[in-house]
Subunit: 359 residues, 4 copies
């Protein structure tokens, strides 16, 4: 287990799908920062289950309590302990899977690694684990926003084969994103996405997709070559999210088909700094932010738990038919949007603090 992320802005999370609670400790958050539970709750509400007809119907208020590190709405510089108690536990939903590892889920690998696994739900492999990340990421965002004016906005850019046109990365906002159930800022596309998700839901199947994220107002200079380059830490952070299968910064895989003469981001004066004419680099060059918007994509596989029966082996090797009965999302992407934002914020807050040592 490695449940701690970051070197200076250090986040530790804990909690399983059906434990008493989940939570996070944020150690290293700068002091004298205005912070209250409502700041954190806002993002938790965007991640919580049951928020729309597209998501799992598990009911969780996901109400955060700050246990330490904040006094009179100001951070003390000491570790910020946060807990969210689990409420809607229905272990019986999951009893039938105990001898059958669910395909493409964590049951088999957790059992092989630890010789034990949570009896109910996905345990630590459940997306419920990400609650703590979102709480911690909200703290990171507040630091980034107040200290540097950083804005982080993620959205669903593809669901299955439906792809949205690129929005204006300078203008896209969380409010705009949240106007659609599916968190895609392009209205027409979002309607198609919703239809597609409802269709697979009806068919007891699932869909994957792509989340795109932009981080604006990131100053030049963040990122620690050679192993903790900004894109490397973002890649680790994103691939640590349940169901994530890919990451690309800037032009990514598409850029591999271009020639250097077309791909190079040529410099040009922008106000009082150098900027680039294009942004195929995605705001990061040689591992260090260059002042342009940081833009990246994250690929999410289709939800592994589906209602459609599948032939698969149980732990003893017998082929059995398995149909998922627990509550689950037919498409995780709408709820994964605040998780991507949270992980981006945790990466940037850590790199920001390290770079501050050079002032």
């Amino acid at each position: 287990m490695s449940s701690t992320f970051g070197s200076l802005f250090k986040v530790t999370t804990f909690g399983e799908s059906h434990s008493k609670g989940v939570g996070a400790v944020v150690d290293g958050c700068p002091s004298n920062l205005s912070l209250c539970e409502a700041d954190i709750q806002k993002q938790l509400d965007r991640r919580k289950p049951g928020q729309s007809r597209l998501t799992t119907q598990r009911k969780e208020a996901d109400q955060v309590t700050i246990l330490s590190g904040v006094e009179n709405n100001l951070t003390l510089g000491t570790p910020i302990g946060m807990i969210i108690l689990n409420q809607d536990q229905r272990p019986e939903d999951y009893n039938h899977v105990s001898e059958i590892p669910r395909p493409s889920h964590g049951d088999y690998t957790y059992q092989m690694k630890y010789g034990i696994r949570a009896a109910s739900g996905g345990g630590r492999a459940s997306a419920r684990e990400t609650t703590g990340r979102v709480a911690a990421g909200a703290v990171a965002e507040i630091y980034l926003s107040r200290a540097f004016g950083v804005e982080i906005v993620a959205w669903v850019s593809a669901v299955g084969t439906i792809t949205a046109p690129d929005p204006d990365v300078q203008a896209v906002s969380r409010e705009g994103v949240d106007e659609s159930l599916v968190r895609c800022p392009d209205f027409e596309t979002s309607v198609k996405m919703v239809e597609a998700i409802e269709e697979v839901k009806f068919e007891k199947d699932s869909l994957g997709g792509i989340i795109t994220c932009v981080c604006r107002n990131v100053p030049a200079g963040w990122g620690e070559p050679v192993f903790d380059k900004a894109e490397a830490k973002l890649a680790q952070a994103m691939l640590s999210i349940p169901a994530a299968k890919g990451f690309e910064i800037g032009s990514g895989f598409t850029g591999t088909r271009m020639r250097g003469s077309a791909h190079n981001d040529r410099f040009v004066q922008k106000g009082d700094r150098l900027g680039t004419l294009t942004n195929f680099s995605g705001g990061i060059q040689a591992g260090i932010t260059n002042g342009e918007p940081v833009v990246f994509n994250v690929a999410f596989k289709p939800t592994a738990t589906i209602g459609t029966p599948q032939d698969t082996a149980d732990f003893a090797g017998n082929i059995v038919s398995l149909a998922g009965k627990g509550r689950h999302d037919p498409c995780v992407l709408p709820r994964a949007v605040p998780i991507v934002e949270a992980m981006a914020a945790m990466v940037l807050a850590d790199l920001a603090l390290i770079q501050e040592t050079r002032k």
Copy 2:
């Protein structure tokens, strides 16, 4: 700077393109492992410049010397210090860029971050930095190979718009890969790739592409959820390689277009263990290896340094015409193959050691 990677199998690298030397310290390598300089040299020779007409003509023997940690060809358990002295330094090749940050290179961001940068070559942002990684990765591979029989093979699967058919991941070998200058194991495709690279070289332009890597015989159980999942550490490792722009495990971005019923890797008995019928997971589920081959892709952008003149701004904001004059590869992929293998080995060796604590 963050030049240390890994928690138990810990690699620290140092060195710039035109410093006296580059190297690595491997701390935490298990003791009593048979190791000699020739084991390491083999991979260095696959990375070194000047090995074919497709690569930069900088002449470097890249001869490694082991300074410590090994006695009578056995590792002592103590840190293995390795150095490679730089030989073919031609700082004059680079003098003309001093006031002009090369587009999509590290000149601008290093200057913004550190307030100084190496006067010649790319400094630490040069691919020369990866020499130390390859040396360290070779040590990691020897451990993985001797202790677990792990085999790591990477190859060039795309150059620009030319894509190779998938080889048999169980059979593809380094020998087969090295039969073509471009390190693509499919003969016909490799011929086209070589032609494409020679064409852009003639046109003073450059190409990118994709490297695919398979790690065979990886036991189930490696990977440390939730932040150091196997795919997360691989993603960090790969995105830390110069010019890397994307990473995908298993089905990756393509898998986002599939339905769960098709994407799920159903279990089946394979000999004395459970395996999966398909491997869209790429050998990792919920952050932990499952015993199937680990398979992933890494996207590389086209080389930033090109001979074609480009209009770009100097540090003062004046638009100037810049044409790269240093020695460089028109396509970095053939030489990046051993780097991808080295980083994969470093990740797996570290996760393997951590999992050993559970025996």
Copy 3:
């Protein structure tokens, strides 16, 4: 702030003297370990305030709740989140110190470091912070005990100028230690220590002293030279305890007055292993345990908060008279015994896990 300790057995603590709660997250604890709240409560009860007439009268039940990581009394291998809610908060006791930094306390340095400090009590600098350590240490001890039979026993060996004779380090037990209020296993000395503490309490003054700790059944081979030698990590762990001022392993400062011929621990066969005739090394040689009992001393200064008025400067530099009014221990040593044990357990559990990678 650095509230995380350990590399594989990783403990993160949080909480201030007057926050809603204190707690700890233990990440990396081996799975399938039998663990329940009562195991942890036992050590918390030895640390809690109000347990005798010698200690602060603050009333705290210090009841631990395990939030995650344990199911059916077995550890899952996932992070173990533990909280202890604060109950007896009397911020008014501390209001009078707000403008006057208490001498030899953390008020001044926290203010200088963070530009803010907890308005009431010592905040994170209060010994209340150690609650989380004791909870985490109890988990570490259970692992060490079950996996290796390790026994850790600490006791008060000196209070002020009163020094106890050395007990038999092979026989001294927690039960024996707890027979005296002051946790000194020598009856006669303990009576004198109690008298001395009651005397300074009456005189509104305070005393320091020394705690000695033995760790039995530690196998040879634990400790990670050169920077994480066993004695180095123990030293860090002990000096991180509030009021600790010194650490010595084995012969320590006294041994500096001996000659090598007398100080060397000569080897002798002991059963099926080599042991040493003497143990001036304190069970650790060249940073690695040698199979003999690990024995060390920790020096604690007299409690900084005293009822006796003292002339000191306020933050503005004015000389004022200050007398402590909060509840505090006239001598912290009896309650520090389980803290020393907890920190020793955290160090040994981490070194044990690292060494397990070599099996």
Copy 4:
């Protein structure tokens, strides 16, 4: 093995007593710092063997070469690789100990830990390992000196039973310390110490002692509670030095005998800051520096390798007579002075950088 120290100012060392070389990589050193090999050589010369009749006669020039990270005598912000080649290797001196673990040395524990050990000399357990520390510490000192005016001076305050009077901690200098062979700034005491060392040398025995160190001009605010308190990291750093057995900050073990009313460091205005009337705290309160001089003691045991024959067991358990024949110091303290300074500098540089994030 754990050969890396520090989180932001990160030092990795390598090398054994009889390997080809020893060295260090300093990663995270601030850029644009003036640095040349002569800066580092100065401290290496104070540590090197053969510098006086009191030390081992092994001949090593200990000439440092900077391989990377510095250009035109300015640090680039990239890792500074430094090597010192070993010259005077006489493995034959050590052949006779191969089957007999030297008492109180690392032979036995390294063998138990790694299942192998360096055939000649102490390998990584030799004090030769500290060469890399001194080189890295010299870099740290240059940063501390230039950025903050920090001055670090250590001296021998006791040899065996001979104790020096306290010097003026504000005035004691390296030049003054180096006036005596034994590095004790009190002339009369130093004469006695030299006599005592020559006496044990003649008698083929050895002595231990105490080194005291002061760090001046350390600003208030350095240190990271709760686990990386300034005194905790100093304790770890000092106990990681070969032969170190104890550490005390400020009043240390002596202070345990005082009452709080006498021990408390009362505040008083000093220029434009608050200072303390006394400094029993040793410049650190609640884990954070307070602006007063940081003062601490380190206990060193008598050298384990002595010429006097000793009865001890070989690895097979047979009692044999062993007399050390290698070259060694009868008292390590004079040469340990720059090592203590180096480790202090490494700790402070790391804490300084972390605190800089709060500016």
